[in-house]
Amino acid sequence: MAIKQITVFVENKQGALVSITDTLAENNVNIRALSIAETEDFGILRLIVNDEETAKKTLTENGYLIKVTNVVGVKIGDAPGKLTEALRVLDNAGINMEYLYAFMARTEKHAYVVLRVEDDEIAESALEAAGFHLITNADICKL
């Protein structure tokens, strides 16, 4: 059920990010959501794309260090307090979260949150049990 996220190691130098997005664009990979974490020494680019196989292949071929991890995608209402509801479910279930990022859909009245948690299956069942609608890579591509 979990969403496949592609993480790329980004060198701390000018043009590093654009060359990654350029590589993806050339191979017709569409980025649906992303987040960047940065430290003094490097950046970590996390991507959800429409075609992760192609993304994986082209990035690896171009010498990028990548890692594919499972993340949880959840649909929440586009209204104040909706994110809190989802987070509270995880908190109550004692699930540790590493990071999250969110994005809006173009047409629907919904927002989507990508969560990186310790155990994605437990997090998913907790969210589903609380009535949340989980999303998949396929769902994301349709948005």
Partner: protein, 435 residues
Amino acid sequence: MTQNYYQKEIETMPVEEIKKLQSEKLVKQVKHVYENVAYYRDLMDKKGVKPEDIHGIEDLYKLPFLTKADLRDAYPYGLLAKPLDECVRIQSTSGTTGRRVVAFYTQHDVDLWEECCARAIVAAGGTKKDVCQVAYGYGLFTGGPGLNGGSHRVGCLTLPMSSGNTERQIQFMMDLNATILCCTPSYAAYIGESLKEQGYKPEDIPLKAGIFGAEPWTEEMRRGIEDTLGIKAYDIYGLTETSGPGVSFECCEQTGMHINEDHFLAEIIDPDTGEVLPEGSKGELVFTSLDKEAFPLLRYRTRDICVLSRKKCSCGRTLIKMAKPMGRTDDMLIIRGVNVFPSQIEAVLLKQGYEPNYQIVVDRVNNNDTFDVNVEMTADKFTDKVSEILAMEKSLAEAMKIMLGINPKVHLVAPKSIVRSEGKAVRVIDKRKLI
């Protein structure tokens, strides 16, 4: 300026007499080593040299060399020439590739070492009226104990501060009117900067001289320290293998360090062929301990690149002078006074599951060494969690600190981002301008 000597008859002995003294001592020392050190006896036998072949310093070239590798092979007792119950002291190197080097001293050895340091203090203008602040580390490191002993022998009021705790160093210096400071040049510069920040002008500072060694430093740095502290700054050289600081020391001329030739016989060799080079040639510095009892190394290759000169010195000393070492024959770096071999970094990386693709970057900022290690991230270790990557950097830095004794800043970088030269990563970038 009147020149004082600690042991005038030796320090100003005519060169021919020094050579005669060295010859007599060498003949006895070779016999002592051959009889008591099986390790060196084997080396001599292999080379077909017997003690009776050594009639004086002109025969020195016949003896086999000792290297750091021999010291490691013979660890800990293999080169010991006296029974342990006649030894009174052990000192050790700051950090090595693999095993540390331990050196043993009889009371006689401690005495001669301290005398060498006393000569250095007197050459820097020290007398029994001085207050000598020793801010080298005390312990296994030879800096503190050596200068401490020398200071006692001169009769200075000795402040055994050890290194660190700069606030306390400054408080003692100012309250107790320290006139001589002994420490690494980078620490002297740091103390100078701290005094300046606290508003002290050179004329407010009671110091008149400093004896600084254990790491490379430049003339520019010397002038900086002299200006900030209002002192004359003297260089001192030594290594644990031969005794510690005081193998050679600077006089008022500040143009090279007089070698205590009555104890240490110096040669310059071609590091590739081992051939002895004539005076004035640049090559590897080799020392023979002439009268150390417990740990008498013969023809020990220091791996320091150096030049010797017998040019007459205005201080009146006839002892041969060595220039500041101009580099190393191996890849050893001296960072913050500590010996660092790239292979030590490599050992840490391999142990923690990294490829040996790294780069050491050393620089000097505000007279302090910076020490950065770039390590290429591997596909296995890469993760999307920042906290885990920071923990990896921390774990590498901690392991390196344990291995080396000094703290590096570790940076994980992208694979293949470290510049390769002919396929091999460039291991060391030393931006310090020291020569």
